[in-house]
Amino acid sequence: MSREELDKIRQDAAGWHIASESDSMDWDGFTAWLEADLRHAAAYDEISLTDGAVLELAADPAHRAFTETPAVVQAPGRVRRFRWVGAGAGAAMAASLAALLIVPQLRTGPGQVYATSDAAREIVLADGSTIALAPHSRLEVSGADQQQMVLAGGALFDIRHDPRRQLAINAGGLTISDIGTRFDVQSEGTNLRVAVAQGKVAVSGDALDKPVPLDAGKALTFDGKAGVSQVASVDAKAVGAWRDGRLTYDNVALPLVAADLGRYAGTRVTVSDAVRDRRFSGTLTVGNGDEAIRDLAQLLGLRLSGRPGDWRLE
């Protein structure tokens, strides 16, 4: 077999492997490709093993594979817009645009306010930390070191750990502090959910007896009205998956799920008092918002009334 032929096989194998993580993967085509030649499966195995080795390297804290500056480097004040590309046809969110910009170095004084409508937005802090602000959300950043934030709505934080900076995020009546690395926050009124993908955070507030430490793979949900908080395990990989149009829940109160659908699917969902206490576990794909709400209603056996764009679960 020629070198070129082998190289082509490896190239195809790598292509299939990368595509396999997408919702639009052609599994029948992949099966046919594997069946076409025994060397295909072997080449695929090698690519898959290589990726496994890369993941292992990435997970090793002792190893710094990249020392360069972050990829998102833009001239201050310049805003670039990209069309939001969903993961597969179903996940393409209508009218979703993401914008990147650098937050200018702030002086003490009134904070900088970022508010989104239908589009998510990426905010890069002066130290290279990034915040993906969800649609229909608002974030206020203040303090000399951009260390004070107030969030209403959702955001995925990717914060560079700096022990000298006392970063605190206020959301849903609680304070998130002692922050290292990657976590997602969703707040709606007095409901709050904090999920940690990497590193750890602490959540504190008057409504909590003492600060609650959260490690990677843990999430805290807080219902301010009922005064109830709960810590549960989450799939760290699913944290922040809203950016790819996926919302994953494990035993989460229905009003929070409804609020998320409102935010990410761009449609209003109200929840009747009779079903407020219902909880939901599972994954919703926010391709077409109305569809996700129908899925939710069906899965929980709830009655859905209203009309597209303004639904009521009862």
């Binding site: 070198r3 190289d7 490896r10 190239q11 790598a14 492997h17 990368i18 595509a19 993580e21 997408s22 919702d23 993967m25 599994w27 029948d28 099966t31 594997l34 025994l38 499966a41 072997a42 195995d45 090698e46 690519i47 898959s48 093993l49 290589t50 990726d51 496994g52 080795a53 890369v54 993941l55 292992e56 990435a58 190893h63 594979a65 990249f66 990829a71 998102v72 990209f82 939001w84 590309v85 969903g86 993961a87 990147l100 990426e122 990717d158 990657r182 993908a197 950016r243 790819d244 996926r246 909880r279 939901f280 576990s281 599972g282 994954t283 919703l284 794909t285 391709g287 899925d295 899965l299």
Partner: protein
């Protein structure tokens, strides 16, 4: 109440598995090259979806295929780890620093950490040598945990551009690992082709 929902979810997945059983089996046979192993993997899937706390899943069929694909990959990865330990052993032996009578028990695996470090160094160098675009895409994908759609947005390129960068990165890293003998016999027994191939193969970078 939550139990009901979970049950509903996992029951749905089991039904889906029953419905797609034949094509999943066919995929597994093609993927791992052995009908026997494929059957084991399928059994594992039944167990997994029976216990799954996943609830509803958007694209259940794709979810099951991905699960099957990952099970095969995990098994190959476990074999790879075992092989890597042996590899580190051989390297140390090959160094000739230890006289045969001073060697510790041959059955004792070499330090896993040493093996990992050796492999990491090979990978590290290969990553450094990647073209700029492929390197950035790989960094965001595997070291920053971004999804492909998000990388496309971040780098301001198309989704297929991201796939091309990542595929190129994987192919080149594969070549570097293969050059250093890391992929030898790591893959499944029971099928022909490249498996157990020569430690140093020719390839285009």
């Amino acid at each position: 109440m939550p139990q009901d929902e979970n049950e509903q979810g996992s029951t749905g997945l089991s039904q889906l598995l029953a419905r797609h059983r034949a094509e999943l089996q066919r995929f597994l046979v093609a993927r791992c090259g052995s009908a026997y192993e494929a059957e084991d993997f399928l059994q594992e899937m039944w167990l997994k979806v029976g216990q799954a706390q996943t609830g509803p899943i958007a694209n259940g069929r794709a979810y099951l295929f991905r699960m099957a694909n990952n099970l095969v990959a995990d098994a190959a990865r476990a074999r790879h780890r075992a092989m890597r330990r042996d590899h580190a052993w051989l390297d140390q032996e090959g160094g000739g620093a230890t006289a045969p009578e001073e060697r510790v028990d041959m059955a004792e695996p070499a330090d896993e950490a040493i093996a990992r470090r050796q492999e990491s160094e090979v990978l590290q160098q290969a990553i450094d040598a990647l073209p700029e675009g492929a390197r950035r895409a790989l960094r965001l994908y595997r070291f920053e945990g971004m999804g492909q759609a998000e990388i496309a947005r971040t780098l301001g390129i198309s989704r297929s551009g991201v796939e091309k960068h990542l595929a190129l990165a994987m192919k080149r890293l594969r070549n570097s690992l293969a050059d250093c003998g890391y992929l030898v016999r790591a893959t499944s027994e029971g099928s022909g082709g490249l498996r157990g191939g020569e430690p140093r193969e020719e390839h285009d970078l």
